[in-house]
Amino acid sequence: MTETAGFWLPVVWALLAATAIFLYICLDGFDLGIGILFLKEKDHDHRNLMVNTVAPVWDGNETWMIFGGAALYGVFPVAYGTILPALYLPVLFMLLALILRGVSFEFRFKSESPMSQFFWDTAFCGGSFVAAFMQGVILGTLVQGIKVENNVFVGSSFDWFSPFALFCGLAVVIGYALLGATWLLWRCEGELHDTMRRISFALAGLMLITIALVSIWTPMLHTTYMQHWLAMPQFALVAPVPVAVIVLTGVLFMGLRNPRSHLLPFVATLGLFFLCFSGLGINVWPYIVPPTITIWQASSPPESQTFLLVGTMFLLPLILSYTAYSYYVFRGKMSAGHHYH
């Protein structure tokens, strides 16, 4: 009995944790993307509009990140205790960037002088950019592998400073910018809508290139990843992924071309994110700290995992439903005269 629980609980939790991380990527992805797009969109009123599309929901989006930290701590403490020291600096930079960007939501609306306005706009944009970049670096470093002995990190502080991890950072920045642009394309009208549609074309092209490069690069990092592409059960799982990526990219471009299509580009981009995320997941499986610690080795005891799972089964649907309610309350197109602050 405990043997099966000891096997299945970590599997269930790995899936739940992956779901939470994916939700985070989707939700905070587009609002980080909005910050990154400040690079391109300088108009003050447009910027306010962009921020206002997420003002009522960004706190909730960011909460998924806190949940990720807490769940990892509770369910896979060994992973929490090895990944964080290994990624000390990228995690630190990400957190500081998220702080700066988070407070800018409030501060940029409340600052009076043009100087402080400029400062908090820069903090919002820079914070979003750095946070996104560091998330990519963290992902890349994890995929590339962390040196662990006896459950203690033994690598160097700069293992994350590798071409692969840095490239992943760039890829995530591009991806989030595309999510942000397609979100704005959906939620805004007029000039801003047109601008976002134009930007989305370029970003979609860039994203396709980065996906291709990361896909080729990843199997070359470890023999285990390569084996996933050659061994049979895994091959059946991963083989459809590239095909689906191509199909969805087609849908994305179709949506972008058709001026009457507003929601489709955003949905197609989310689909692309899902494919990339599950593709990486299949590659890494069953390791949580590649290439040494599996989800079973990283797990807290079944007593802890069960205790948390019981509540999660009730709470997660509840959370999802009132989060959806909040999005529903603030649905619809935003117009320029429409502001919250």
Binding site: V57, F67, A71, P77, L92, K110, S326, V329
Partner: protein, 475 residues
């Protein structure tokens, strides 16, 4: 030597970040409850001053809550970056509690915050009030979980230690969550959060009362209303807090006597112990210099009897003693501030009875001066309880020196500098904005975030590509 300084920096950094953080949740807990009360009273009585105050403090809440979220985000990862060994060992117990905190509280707060902030015109009064209550309940649930975890570190129960890995494994979740110091701690902290906000509100009201007086006019209804509410809180809650603190002291004496010895600066265990009003504890020479003592009072306060036995630091091995010089003062500052709050509350009752609550500038000046008193007392109390737990992270079981991460000194030094810079920028910005908000007087038809947006037909997916004539209107 090298390892020691990395440990010191890890501790210092954690204390620095959590010290900044703790202020904002406490502010949010108290303020969310205040907002719910204000909105409830508005719905019940229809008196518009309540709504004006609601909108006024809602602006404050948006800033405070945002700063709480971002500084809290740091905490949820800092356990791993700075205390990875602690996380691996205590993770099976503390991790699920923190995850429950996120699921039962953080999502609730964040999920309804948007509706509370911006939704008054979109969802109707009843639903909006429900959202405000949800946010307030969320802050209280959050406080319960985090204090339960903290209390478990102080008075661990319901665990067993795994021989092979040294991990704490849960045996009885009921005992873990409701460990012996939790009930006392949650009452003490909850009241502290309410008092923090009561004194901030009183200070803001006091400033506007003084300003109105200087300008030779009567202060507005809103200002008087919030001053009155704050003074009721001070009068009722401060004395209760003294009792709550006293019972927590008794609880600490039972479970963590070394902490009591350290915060009292007592070296020898004795009955009929005096209470030190002042002194400078000296860890090295095992004595307290320059003592000013009141006979018997120590025993009386700690044991509620004149000849009760009070512990001394020499009862404990040197390496197990908390650092008394810091505790001695943090504890005394907290007590002094608490007593001042009680006095202000009592005085306000007397003035209210005499009908002079709004005409006594000295009280208003004191209220202004004491507006950060709640937060100072809270920080001192937090230092007392956390430093008093040392040199352990899990009291008596896991040493702080065995909890730290294997991070190199340069890394943590870099991050320390980065934190100081970013926190300096962010908190200066935040406090400036808060002060600027406070400087405005709450007035009728308060222009709050809830109403300065036009009503619109929701749910439309139609697109108009017409240029917006009022594009310049956004703030």
């Amino acid at each position: 030597m090298f390892g020691l300084s990395a440990l010191f920096l890890a501790r210092f950094q954690f204390a620095f970040t959590v010290g900044f953080h703790i202020v904002f949740p406490a502010f949010s807990i108290g303020l969310a409850a205040y907002l719910a009360v204000l909105e409830g009273l508005w719905l019940k009585t229809g008196r518009s001053a309540y709504l004006d105050l609601f909108k006024y403090w809602l602006k404050v809440f948006s800033v405070v809550f945002g700063m709480g979220v971002v500084s809290g985000l740091v905490m949820s990862y800092e356990f791993g970056t700075n205390w990875s060994s602690f996380s691996q060992k205590a993770g099976p117990i503390l991790g699920p509690m923190l995850a429950y905190e996120v699921m039962t509280a953080f999502f609730l707060e964040a999920g309804f915050l948007g509706v509370m902030m911006f939704g008054l015109n979109r969802v109707g009064k009843g639903l909006h009030f429900a959202a405000t209550c949800m946010v307030s309940i969320g802050t209280l649930i959050s406080m319960s979980w985090i204090l339960s975890s903290n209390s478990w570190m102080q008075t661990p129960r319901g665990y067993r230690i795994d021989e092979a890995t040294g991990r704490f494994l849960p045996v009885d979740w009921w005992q873990i969550v409701f460990n012996p110091s939790f009930p006392y701690r949650i009452v003490h902290m909850g009241l502290a959060a309410f008092l923090c906000v009561a004194f901030i509100v009183a200070g803001v009201a006091g400033w506007h009362l003084l300003k109105a007086r200087r300008e030779g006019r009567q202060a507005s209804e809103q200002v008087r209303l919030m001053f009155s509410m704050a003074m009721w809180m001070a009068a009722i809650v401060s004395p209760i807090q003294v009792l709550a603190g006293d019972t927590q002291g008794l609880n600490t004496l039972e479970y963590q006597p070394a902490k009591i010895a350290a915060l009292e600066g007592d070296w020898e265990s004795e009955s009929r112990a005096p209470e030190l009003l002042f002194g400078i504890p000296d860890m090295k020479n095992e004595t307290t210099h320059f003592k000013i003592a009141i006979p018997y009072l120590g025993s009386l306060i700690l044991t509620h009897s004149l000849d009760g036995k009070v512990p001394g630091l020499k009862d404990y091995p040197k390496e197990d003693r908390p650092y008394s010089p810091l505790l001695f003062f943090s504890f005394r500052i907290m007590i002094a501030l608490g007593m001042l709050m009680v006095l202000v509350g009592l005085w306000s009752l007397y003035l209210r009875w005499k009908g002079k609550l709004y005409d006594t500038p000295l009280l208003h000046r004191i209220a202004l001066f004491m507006s950060p008193a709640g937060f100072l007392a809270l920080l001192c109390g937090w230092i007392t309880t956390e430093v008093g737990r040392q040199p352990f992270t899990v009291y008596g079981l896991l040493r702080t020196s065995d909890s730290v991460s294997p991070i190199a000194l340069p890394n943590i030094a870099t991050s320390m500098i980065a934190f100081v810079i970013v926190y300096f920028i962010v908190f200066t910005g935040g406090i400036t904005i808060l002060l600027r908000t406070f400087a405005e007087e709450p007035h009728p038809d308060q222009h709050g975030p809830a109403e300065d947006q036009p009503q619109r037909a929701a749910g439309t997916t139609q697109v108009s590509h017409q240029p917006q004539p009022d594009a310049g209107m956004a703030e």
